[in-house]
Point group: C3
Chain length 426, copies 3
């Protein structure tokens, strides 16, 4: 909390869950989708913002977006804008994009490079670390050390930048351990952005996650994705032939990976279990094989860019990472695709999809966007359309929570349980 | 109420009228227009939705829009979307456009034909009657008979489709009797849609109705309409000459209609009395003569399409029907024009105007849209503009309810009384 | 209050300040910018409307916009629309743009000339003074004298038209005295509108005023303005050279003005003190010299139109006027620029900038818009951009009120004190 923050805001944060929300939580039918109110009610949306988005660790972007001192990008959560900037000491900081004088937004561009941060209104000058360097025209007795830009917490793990707006953020160590170990070989610190696409998806952020947490919808909706992956098969439809196929792929990959020092961590069909409310697991990563013939998540399975990171062969399967409430990543041997969510109202979510390649790869020479983008661009856009249809439906008074498939939607239920637990606690 | 509906919603429905609304109703000055709050207040709009729109019988469309099994159209009330579909048994049903699994909107198109209703998300399959036929991937113990699509009540009368979202809808028998008798000769079941135009009118739905309930505004605003009709004349301005004119028209038509078995039911100038809050009359229909020289409500009075229904001669005057809260129709010998309202917020109404001709009439051969449309398109659009101007004015703090003309606005007062009675009762 | 106004509205007006607003006011840190809530909260915006905008005197426009009987323009405050019309008696009246019958907006055009005001709905006819002249179709016993258009208070001072929506407006005499004396020589009554530009500025109206109340931002943002004026210099940066410059300009001008009977009222650098909450000063005017070489606030300082009003030489410096909550004006020898604000939501302000020249000046012959407009068009648009940036920043939870410069922002503090005092009192 900032010194000057009004008591009104403090109260907002400390109050108990309103009775009607507590009652909705208590009445949720286990194993069923959430009640309508969770997907459109303004009060619940505000609680989501307070108790999930302003409390958790948010993926902001990749450190390779700001390689040099003074490089920055901005990101917005709720009404807050954050400048994520690399300092002269090479450290990455999260500075609130708000002048300490009269509150003017400092950076209007979404990314750039600055020697100093200068307010466009009265030219107060801040350093790349957020310290107030000068404020011509103010009284001499003003103590400049009291007017550094407000900051948020930052953690960097293997090139992934996380920001927390919480005054006392929750633990990051366990996540750091898991993500660090799994992400290291992918080489995110020696990567570059090949493409970013921003979407406004007209659906509550939880619908976007619920869509991400199952592959029940993949057969009919993701013709590209299912050719390369095993996770749309589940206990009820993993035939002997499929079992043999994945066993073969695991065995083959395990041999190769052992030689490269890469761990195999998900050897079955179906999706890995995530999240886990009881054990406070909001982060996870695993490596799993691709289907025979697929070296990369591309339309034809062929490698489309130079090998990334520590990889010496293309046969590394696929690395998958996800952190709640706003990040997932699918990485192949030659490229990685990160997805970042930001809430934009009870019925809208901003989604950024980021394609990364090795930092020295040159477009048109080493890779072609026409081959790099389609697999995940199509798969993503197929999902956004589904989510928007679902939002339309759950708006209806006639919507009643329905049952989850025990075979295919166990992770949707896990997500919903994680969400309700977070919403219930401060 | 649906089984899974939250207690929160139940409470919404059962609570008493809020004190401030009850007080506004109590303070309404008889014979005067309503207070400003009724035309823009969010709370009153929500009460309108609950107590009028979700309780009453809504005109949805014409049965000739869905002649074959599997044909459907959708319509939206508030956040609800309804699929109006003809089944294999030729029965018309109103199915909520919401998958029973996780709530996805099933039909995104506004009309079409389907063999089965298949959810785009996880491919749950429903029959044309709304029964769940299959849900691949779900646990075997799930009882499919419990997951039919939620339905709304439907009544069909002579090709007019009515839907009620109320769990226990009010009586339809009396309306069925009146509309059935009067609509039969027009032949709506053997009709086809020649044209539909959708409008967003930036005015509260009640202003649209109040405009419909008087012809005080016709002289200056509807130059086309007044040439063909007698209802803009009232007790104060029906001259001896006009009296003679309508008497002649009535006599002439009565003779002809008697021969055709058609009843004359409105023989005076001025509009028939409607609605009637005391007698719970929310529906009415009447036949009245057109001015000498007018065979049809067209720009020059000439017949512009083949005779509809049972008519054997063009001299059938004009049939008028209306049902609250959302339908009116003006029918001539050769075509019919239906108007359907749907509320879209405290200050907006969606209006659909539908032109119908005989089902075997062929455009460009048997009728020309340039001759068919203008009379009611112009008259309708003239009204929408007036309603929007009135909305702008009643928004003002300076608006004070004004007196209705005893000669010309008796039906506006009747409408307001009907509305306030409905609003006051559950 | 109108007779028919609902008790609900009366209550709104009489209630005390809500506790949370009173608490915010009590907690405001002296000498610092206001808390975030004042710039975006819906409840505070509504209080601003009630206690400032509906209570004060609002600049509506210039009398030269409606020189002839029947000429009118409309202006909107909140949901109210006012017709400002010149009557047959040449008096200017403010008539509510709402028919006394059923509330229809009477004039849809923003300006025009009318012999009678005729309601487009049912043709009730009002005179240019707002009296109901006829209402064909109504019952004979209706007393037309009871149905004049509702009016608002009007004051005209030297061609400036002020309107108050308050039933008992506050005193205008002191403002009339000051504005009348200072505005007279400019000749606003013998002026004409050369150009009007309307802007929607996405910032709370108070941010627009705070921007207007200091020239701390001028050096970096207004390269044109600072060449012509002395007010961006303050106690901390008025060097000996600048002191000499302004003293020279004052002396030179005083001599000339004395000869013309024009008073010198602001002889220093920096801005004149305004407003003054303690003395209830919401209006002020002063004349001050321009920089050597500037005869007019134009890009090169040259005169660009014929001398206005009583001026016989171009060396009259610049006349500045401002009235809260919605008007300021900068006048040169040859043209005048008026700015009118109207609130359009918690985060939006409608701004109209009006350029005036002598009434007999002919475009293209006596003046060229390309030379007349740029100085104030650029300066205004530079400010709107700043205000929008500031609004973005103060929306953030991380915004904390910052200190005002004692040298340069004394008037911003005066404005904030005036505002809070008005907000606190009925």
């Amino acid at each position: 909390m900032f010194d000057g923050e009004s008591s009104h805001v403090q109260e907002e944060r400390q109050h108990n869950l309103p009775d009607r929300v507590a009652s909705l939580i208590a009445n949720r039918r286990p194993g069923h989708s959430l009640q309508r109110e969770f997907y459109g009610d303004e009060e619940i949306y505000n609680l989501d913002i307070e108790r999930i988005w302003r409390s958790g660790w948010l993926f902001a972007g990749h450190s390779c977006q700001i390689p040099k001192a003074g490089d920055y990008f901005t990101f917005e959560l709720d009404a807050d804008s954050i400048i994520v900037m690399r300092g002269d000491d090479r450290k990455i900081r999260a500075l609130h994009n708000v002048c300490r004088h009269r509150g003017t937004r400092l950076c209007s561009e979404s990314a750039g490079t600055l020697a100093r941060i200068i307010c466009p209104y009265h030219q107060w000058v801040y350093g790349r670390d957020g310290r107030l360097l000068s404020c011509r025209g103010m009284q001499e007795e003003l103590d400049k050390t009291e007017f550094s830009l407000h900051t948020a917490q930052v953690r960097e793990v293997e090139g992934l930048i996380y920001v927390s707006l919480a005054p006392q953020p929750s633990d990051f160590n366990a996540a750091n351990e898991v993500l660090g170990t799994m992400a290291r070989p992918q080489g995110f610190e020696q990567a570059r952005i090949a493409k970013m696409i921003d979407y406004t998806v007209n659906a509550n952020w939880k619908l976007v996650w619920e869509n991400n947490r199952e592959c029940y919808h993949c057969n009919a909706n993701h013709p590209q994705y299912i050719k390369a992956n095993f996770d749309h098969y589940n206990a009820d439809d993993t035939t002997a032939r499929i079992k043999e196929e994945i066993a073969t792929a695991v065995t083959r990959n395990e041999k190769e990976w052992a030689a490269c020092g890469l761990a195999v961590s998900h050897k079955q069909t179906g999706m890995t279990n995530f999240p886990d409310a009881d054990r406070d697991i909001w982060f996870s990563a695993n490596r799993t094989p691709l289907v025979e013939g697929y070296l990369s998540e591309t339309m034809d399975g062929q490698q489309v860019a130079p090998l990334m990171g520590d990889y010496t062969k293309p046969t590394v399967g696929t690395l998958r990472m996800r952190t709640l409430p706003n990040f997932w990543n699918h990485s192949s041997c030659d490229h990685a695709v990160s997805t970042r969510l930001l809430p934009a109202g009870p019925r809208a979510t901003l989604v950024r999809v980021i394609w990364l390649v090795r930092e020295d790869a040159v477009e048109a020479k080493d890779y072609d966007l026409k081959k790099l983008l389609p697999f995940w661009q199509l798969t993503s856009e197929q999902d956004w359309e589904i989510c928007e249809n679902q939002q339309q439906g759950v708006n209806s008074r006639a919507y009643t929570p329905g049952p989850y498939s025990l075979y295919k939607e166990y992770n949707v239920d896990s997500f919903v349980c994680w969400y309700l637990k977070k919403l219930s606690s401060l």
